[in-house]
Amino acid sequence: MITAVQKPFDEIYEMIQGYKKILVLGCGTCVTVCMAGGEKEVGVLASAIRLANGKNGIEMDIAEDTIERQCDREFFDDVKDKIEEADAVLSLACGVGVQFSSEVFEGKRILPGLNTKFYGTTLEMGVWSERCAGCGDCVLETFGGICPVARCSKSLLNGPCGGSQDGKCEVDPENIDCAWQLIYDRMKSLDLLDRLEINEPVKDWSTGRDGGPGKIIREDMTL
């Protein structure tokens, strides 16, 4: 899923100053799974804002709602009125949802309550880890299902570097596993170690973000 974390409270609080009526809008998909912007988080943030306003003597109407996704037009129908009534929307969707909300509701101020982080997975409750960099040319077949682009701190295709120690990456040994130790172990278990003796040529980075903002068109699916 796309993972995100909530922005620090004071940053959010600063953003909403001056508005009389705001809607805190959550998203029921990725950010619910990573516990950053779902219905529960909307409730907590709205409470926190009200408590802060109470302390500071600020009058502000805080509405709350959550829709299935903020990256598909159809889900906005249920909250269309609430959005239109609000002076500003504090969106707890990922960067995609915040931007798309702005496109659907032209002229409406949509504020980002989250910092979008990475494509990742849930390791255990409360812990998420990056897995994919969206490079546009998947190399997982070559590396036994472990991505060196996303999981190696230096995105080495012919790793490891000298900083691999006890299976950890020297950049942050507490939190980052050495992707190349993982790749080595996996290829060994798959009996494919000799594949790692091949020198991988330089990558074509133009298939991803380096080639410019992406767009996908399925001609057979356009109306």
Binding site: G162, D166, V171, C178
Partner: protein, 320 residues
């Protein structure tokens, strides 16, 4: 290795079958040339070539090529370093052309320390290529006379190619993990184009000898010139720091005990003991089959290099 590829002094020393010696010079963190001149003066005549580091530990310093050129003017032969952290393939190939045009003949390919270690941690990560792809790039430019996109290295259609004539170096870490994979990675570097290798500094002789055994089993010592890395221990504090804080480095207790014993009697004599240990290491390394030279990293201790070389009986350096 057939025929001379670059004509560099280092290459010729190897070709003549002599035991080679390289040292290291860290460029200044400013635009001052004097720092280079001072360090160069200590190293001149005491080694066959000098590594000029490239923003080592991701701390901004004068560029390796610039500092290398200035060092060359002081009579040293530089080994330029290029890391993959800061430059993409356009800048790298451009720098290789520039270095070659300036008369710099030895280039060492490195992945480069992650910027997290340095003084500009918020910068963008490049790593367009890794060290093995960088070796391949240098080999392609030199031997195929093309850039890595296949275009010939020539200024216009009617001209002849003018390719960089370089002696290609790489680093190797006999002590990193996974241990079983280290020699395979060395083989990859040799296949990619490395002419010579410099290892991380060695204290654990047994482990290094084990690595060399595996290297010889694959015949790699015949395909590439291997230089063993050494850093003399200046003090007990330094020895302990190297043991505790530098990933992958194990410093035998016997060295620390030796230095501590001397420190008890006379603190000033510790440095000399450290140099003795270094000289013993050099002699032991010279006896290992497949070791073609040493890479002496006497960081901020350039003024003691001559003494080490004299005691190790490696002076004068061969004239080739």
């Amino acid at each position: 290795m057939n025929g001379i590829k670059s004509g560099s002094n280092l290459e010729k020393v190897f070709a003549a079958g002599k035991f080679a010696v390289t040292a290291e010079l860290g460029p200044p963190k400013c635009a001052d040339v004097e720092v280079i001149r001072k360090k160069a003066a200590f190293l001149k005549g005491n080694c066959d070539a000098v590594n000029i580091t490239d923003n080592q530990t991701a701390i901004v310093r004068m560029s390796s090529i610039a500092a290398g050129f200035l060092a060359m003017q002081e009579g040293l032969e530089p080994v330029i370093q290029i890391t993959c952290r800061d430059r993409n393939r356009i800048a790298i190939q451009s720098d290789i052309l520039g270095a070659s045009a300036m008369g710099l003949k030895n280039i060492l390919a490195l992945s480069g320390d992650h910027q997290n270690f340095g003084n500009h941690v918020t910068c963008k990560n490049v790593y367009d290529m890794d060290s093995i792809q960088l070796l391949q790039t240098m080999k392609t430019m030199r031997d195929d006379k093309t850039f890595i996109n296949g275009e010939e290295i020539k200024n216009s259609k009617k001209d002849e190619p003018v390719e960089p004539k370089i002696f290609i170096g790489a680093a190797a870490n006999p002590f990193g993990d996974p241990f079983e994979f280290r020699v395979i990675r060395l083989a990859k570097k040799v296949k990619a184009g490395a002419d010579f290798i410099q290892t991380q500094c060695i204290y654990d002789m047994e482990r290094f000898e084990e690595w060399m055994k595996q290297v010889r089993e694959r015949g790699l010592h015949k395909e590439v010139k291997i230089m063993a890395g050494l850093t003399p221990l200046k003090s007990v504090g330094m020895a302990k720091y190297m043991r505790d804080s530098v990933a992958g480095l194990s410093v035998p207790d016997s060295y620390i005990q030796r230095l501590a014993k001397v420190a008890e009697k006379d603190k000033k004599a510790v440095a000399a003991e450290g140099i003795d240990i270094c000289v013993e290491q050099i002699h032991r390394l010279m006896d290992i089959e497949g070791v073609a030279g040493i890479h002496l990293m006497a960081i901020e201790w350039e003024h003691r290099v001559q003494e080490i070389m004299e005691k190790a009986e490696l002076l004068p350096r061969p004239a080739v």
